[in-house]
Symmetry: C2
Subunit: 331 residues, 2 copies
């Protein structure tokens, strides 16, 4: 407790001296290294010394020596911050923490100049919610990261993407089941469609195809000018009656514009959102949308990471049990 003249960081050497053992013993005790027999008395002596001095291992040194940083880097595409995403991250980082890993999130969009974060962090694993482009893969590999997901060399990309595609599939199914045959996919003009938009759109196209319909066009609307109303009239003239919205905000804009254009929702045109945003239930009319359980998805994610990191058993969970339809008043 005495104030040292120079506030130097406590190292394992200090702990060793304090406990009256060698540095190696300290490491063995603190890391529970298997294959070492250490009596309880020594063990407690070391642990108490470490606690007394407030020892924190230097993560850089540990990473250098062991070759592992115990960091998982989650790369997010350009991403509107849905409220539920927080729960996803909470759950994922908690589950990873229990196994000694730290989760770091990194929002990266195509235009980014500058050094990517995986270069600064030496992560053991880099996970993208959507596939990486080839440049990024090369960059990640060049930093000595051997584990990444989705890994283009392993063709396992399907695993996590199911969590992305299940929602759009439900949207399409629901609209078809309500009798709609001609559909569009709507998103915002600004910001330009990023990878998550494209991934959801592709999933919707695939689903429409398997249900025997043509793939819905990707329509980019704007909520500033009047272009949305114009688009809606165009859709009506084309016989389109079902709108798959990228998210609830897009859905809200479409619904408002439909009213302005004199169309009745859902009779003339049905709209379904995605994410079950906080505002979705408050909107007038209340939005039909897709809800997913972020906590469970977070745990799924952590399990996948641990599978990649340590080869733990893993089976792809059934996404359909994680994602559900919420029908309200716009379909």
């Amino acid at each position: 407790m005495s104030e040292a003249t120079v506030r130097r960081r406590v190292t394992s050497t200090d702990v060793a001296r304090e406990a009256g053992v060698s540095r190696a013993t300290v490491t063995y005790v603190l890391n529970d290294t298997p294959g070492q027999t250490i009596p309880q008395s020594t063990r407690t002596r070391v642990l108490e010394a470490a606690a007394r001095l407030g020892y924190r291992p230097n993560s850089a040194a540990r990473t250098l020596a062991s070759g592992r940083s115990r960091i998982v880097l989650l790369v997010l595409p350009d991403w509107p911050q849905e409220f539920s995403f927080r729960h996803f991250l909470d759950e994922a980082s908690l589950a990873l923490d229990e196994s000694g890993y730290s989760l770091v999130t990194y929002t990266r969009h195509p235009g980014t100049r500058g050094r990517p974060l995986w270069e600064a962090l030496n992560p053991d694993l880099v996970i993208g919610l959507v596939p990486f482009d080839p440049d990024d893969v090369a960059s990640i590999r060049g930093c000595g990261v051997t584990r990444l997901f989705p890994d283009p060399d392993e063709s396992d990309s399907a695993d996590l993407s199911m969590a992305v595609s299940a929602g759009p599939e439900l949207q399409v199914d629901h609209l078809i089941d309500r009798g709609h045959r001609r559909l569009v996919y709507a998103t915002f003009k600004e910001p330009p469609p990023y990878s998550l938009v494209l991934a959801r759109h592709r999933a919707a196209c695939d689903r429409a195809y398997t249900r025997g319909l043509p793939p819905p066009d990707l329509e980019r609307i704007d909520h500033q000018d009047g272009s949305t109303e114009e688009a809606i009239r165009r859709w009506r003239d084309m016989g389109i009656t079902g709108v798959i919205a990228f998210n609830d905000i897009v859905a809200a804009v479409v619904v408002v514009a439909a009213a302005t254009a004199g169309l009745r929702v859902p009779d003339d045109i049905a709209v379904i959102g995605h994410d079950d945003n906080q505002t979705a239930a408050m909107f007038v009319p209340q939005l039909s949308t897709i809800r997913f359980d972020p906590s469970t998805l977070g745990r799924d994610f952590a399990n996948l990471a641990l599978h990649k990191l340590e080869g733990r058993p893993w089976q792809n969970p059934d996404a359909s049990t994680r994602v559900t339809l919420v029908r309200r008043r716009t379909t």
Copy 2:
């Protein structure tokens, strides 16, 4: 380009061998170490060798040897829901990147168990958007981090908090200027008010005080049950005519509930949001709110960080030029 038998990471030793110089020379060239005289010929030889081999310095080794990680950790009280926050982060990390630092964001809420991220990252600087609680300060210091902000020992907390308080101050001023004398501050019951909520509320209270009004109560509403309407009737009976909403979503809920309760907005009750959310302009009626320029704030933030890291000059920018009032139809 030949496929090595074992894919080993390229080190500075490899570069040195390839360039025909010693390792020290490589370090000097790549780091532009001042005080070293290196002829252009050698310099290019080293740089070309590094490029040819695809050399990436090992950040753990560098951190260990130099004692600096070049990582800035930004601790957020809660996952940002505001769209504009992305621009803030983009701009901040870009500006930091130009000086060789990486920005890592970390969402930490009070209940979090598990190892905090500053322990795993060895950041050079930890910045919180709102003040840290004492436990966290101790934890951060215990990890060998000497620079943190706001630093309770330096009483400089005012600098960044102005970016937080300017919005609530504008909200209060606007309502007062519109003739409202009795105000409340509204936020959601779920999730429980976190530090950003409390910080904004405190700022509103301070402003009300300087304008000669009693501090507005912090009212926690719910958008699921009917409690909001009940609250609104209560407010009406108390003579409250102005509602300061924590953000635009809260404002929207209040507006909807006011309509349900039979009050006219803004005649019977005025509501002002915060953040100029994407939905704010689309809502019916369109929400009055607070807009701020996230890019400029991001650059301000980066400058503050560089000031803390390297003692660069810094003067507190005038927050009032970064934050503006957007009056629409709810005030």
